[in-house]
Point group: C2
Chain length 380, copies 2
């Protein structure tokens, strides 16, 4: 069996790795379990780590350790890579390949599984979901999301009580978060304030409700300050307006030697615009710690990540292929683990549900609180 | 008795408030205890909160609550303010004024105490130290610093393990932190990695060892990447080079309507420079959560903040004035609380000790670990 990790490292991706590893060991049907270094590139380079005899003590530590123990990557498999990868897997007599990642990783698994079938190669491929962005189709939520929710909710709460204590210094605070094209991580900022603190909820700038332009954002925040005396605004790092322009600036402020374009931070850009408009503003950017912190990791998230990894290993050994393990809510409100065709996940993006977005477009509904709060664990 | 809070809110400033309040109540010698809203401006505006009958339950909650319960401020007292403030205090029959804050606040206390003496006004002034910047003279360390150390150490650790797992995506990560002109908060990043993880320590850009120019920083980081394959760099938000130019750019990229100058973020600026030089780089900016997080607050820090507040109240009632309570290390390595003349603290800045800075200028010594690690509490 060969296991890989792909995309951004998280607080719980190693729990999925250990879940899969231990299920494979427990099955008694897998002679050797390898990890690929830095994702699928590890296969092309034949860069493996043997995990078979990892001690129980090391496994228990790794289960709770953030980051990506195997090393991670974002290599996009090309059609020309498929045969070399499958040839390499055949040479190493790999029978099961498990890949932990998001929709790009699901696409890799899908392509490899289809190509292996065309070649009549007997090889089971399973995808294990992982992304703090929570944007995978066919699963109630994704491992990593509960922990990032807990982090962003607490971070936003800190920013709100700080701003509330000194609005005359900085009336406006932006919190710039991850989340790509979906507003799930942004929405987590609203989990900070419930019940009798609901009046202190932050404003959310959601990709699902793009602002017409920067002027609309300024007007929105000015209204909020007029009403509350301060405003805390959660903004995705890649926010675009309704016409597709990046709020950080409609031309990249920098293009690197590989042609990658870098847009100015929307937090930085909006802080300047607001300050020009007479409201002193600044921004925070929690960055990688949000998806990596073991202090803030949710115990529910850790347990689910491990269970999804374990079930993927069991299903692969039982003969399933081209599936992703997923969470489905049962009638009691708990989570069942199911397997879904990986092609229904590959390269698709699940946006924040309409039912989770408040009518004003800048808040979340009670339904979102009901959806997300249990993911943070017993001590949100 | 009148109590105020000033400067940036922290995770432990309310512990000092409760310490002072309860010591005053316990003394049986203070009839009424008021809080000023938003610092000394609260006196000028006669904006007070009566704390005398705050319930034990509320006090216990507030003791552990971050932010600044009274509201905070950064108003700089002018010579023309002194008489109006002292007149107001006389009208309200204030006998003791306690002010929780940093060196600016100590200066306010110093000026008021001197002017009250000139007027023969019978009024005791005490300063209670508070700053995550840890830059106050005459005290071993400052309340707020232990908690920010715990936060920044963990944040840096997360960034290091993330970068370590995927150096091919981003080889370089900057972490932009607070700390004004001193490197104490920056140095906290190095507490992340000790013992057999010492090889994973971040690079520190310390104000006490300013880089000659940006080229020197680029060369330093390139060397680090050549050696380790990646680099994580902790940088103060106000970093200047040896000639006093802001590393974020030597001209402000923005001046607001009040004439405040805004320099580009050094994290953003250096990320661009490094990426241009062929090393993909990005930055995180933990911002206010670093000084506000109750999850990351150090239990040692909370206890010291409360004790320093309580002792200030007791000393004021006993007739002391123009002093600040401070921590002094005793022969057993523990901390004693002493009182120091506030004029020796006012407007002075304590830089990071030379003995705490490594010979390379970008690391800390064992002496710094010995100094700072105990402040993080039993579970760093």
């Amino acid at each position: 069996m060969l296991i890989g990790q792909s995309g951004g490292a998280t607080a719980v991706i190693n729990a999925s790795l250990i879940g899969a590893l231990e299920a494979a060991l427990d099955s008694g049907k897998v002679g050797r379990i390898l990890g690929m270094r830095h994702g699928i590139e590890g296969v092309l380079k034949r860069d493996f780590i043997d995990l078979t005899s990892l001690s129980q003590e090391r496994r228990n530590l790794l289960r709770l350790t953030p980051s990506s123990a195997l090393g991670t990557g974002r290599y996009k498999v090309t059609p020309d890579d498929l045969d070399p990868i499958l040839d390499q897997l055949a040479r190493d007599d790999v029978r099961y390949l498990l890949y932990i990642g998001g929709n790009d990783s699901a696409d890799t698994v899908h392509k490899l599984a289809m190509h292996a079938a065309r070649r009549d190669q007997n090889l089971a491929f399973m995808s294990i979901p992982k992304t703090v962005d929570n944007d995978l189709a066919e699963t109630h939520h994704c491992p990593g999301y509960g922990s990032v929710c807990r982090y962003i909710a607490n971070f936003t709460r800190d920013a709100i009580y700080d701003t509330f204590a000194s609005p005359q210094l900085y009336a406006v605070k932006f919190i710039e978060v991850m989340g790509r094209d979906a507003g799930w991580v942004t929405a987590a900022g609203a989990l900070a304030m419930t019940g009798d603190e609901a009046d202190l909820a932050p404003l959310l700038l959601l990709p699902e409700r793009p602002p017409r332009d920067t002027d609309e954002i300024v007007a929105l925040i000015k209204d909020d300050v007029a009403r509350r005396g301060w405003s805390v605004v959660v903004v995705p790092e890649t926010l675009q307006d309704a016409s597709g322009r990046y709020v950080g600036g409609d031309t990249p402020n920098f293009v690197d030697s590989f042609g990658h374009e870098y847009y100015a931070s929307p937090g930085a850009a909006l802080s300047q615009v607001l300050t020009s408009a007479g409201l002193r503003a600044r921004y925070d950017k929690p960055g990688t710690s949000a998806r990596m912190s073991n202090v803030m990791a949710s115990s529910v998230d850790l347990a689910e990540a491990e269970a999804l990894g374990a079930e993927a290993a069991r299903l692969a050994i039982a003969g399933e292929t081209a599936k992703m393990t997923a969470l489905r809510q049962n009638d009691q409100g708990g989570m069942d683990i199911v397997a879904v065709p990986v092609e229904r996940v590959a390269n698709r993006v699940r946006l924040l549900d309409d039912a989770f977005i408040g009518v004003d477009g800048h808040s979340v509904t009670d339904a979102f609180h009901d959806y997300a709060l249990p993911l943070l664990g017993p001590d949100p």
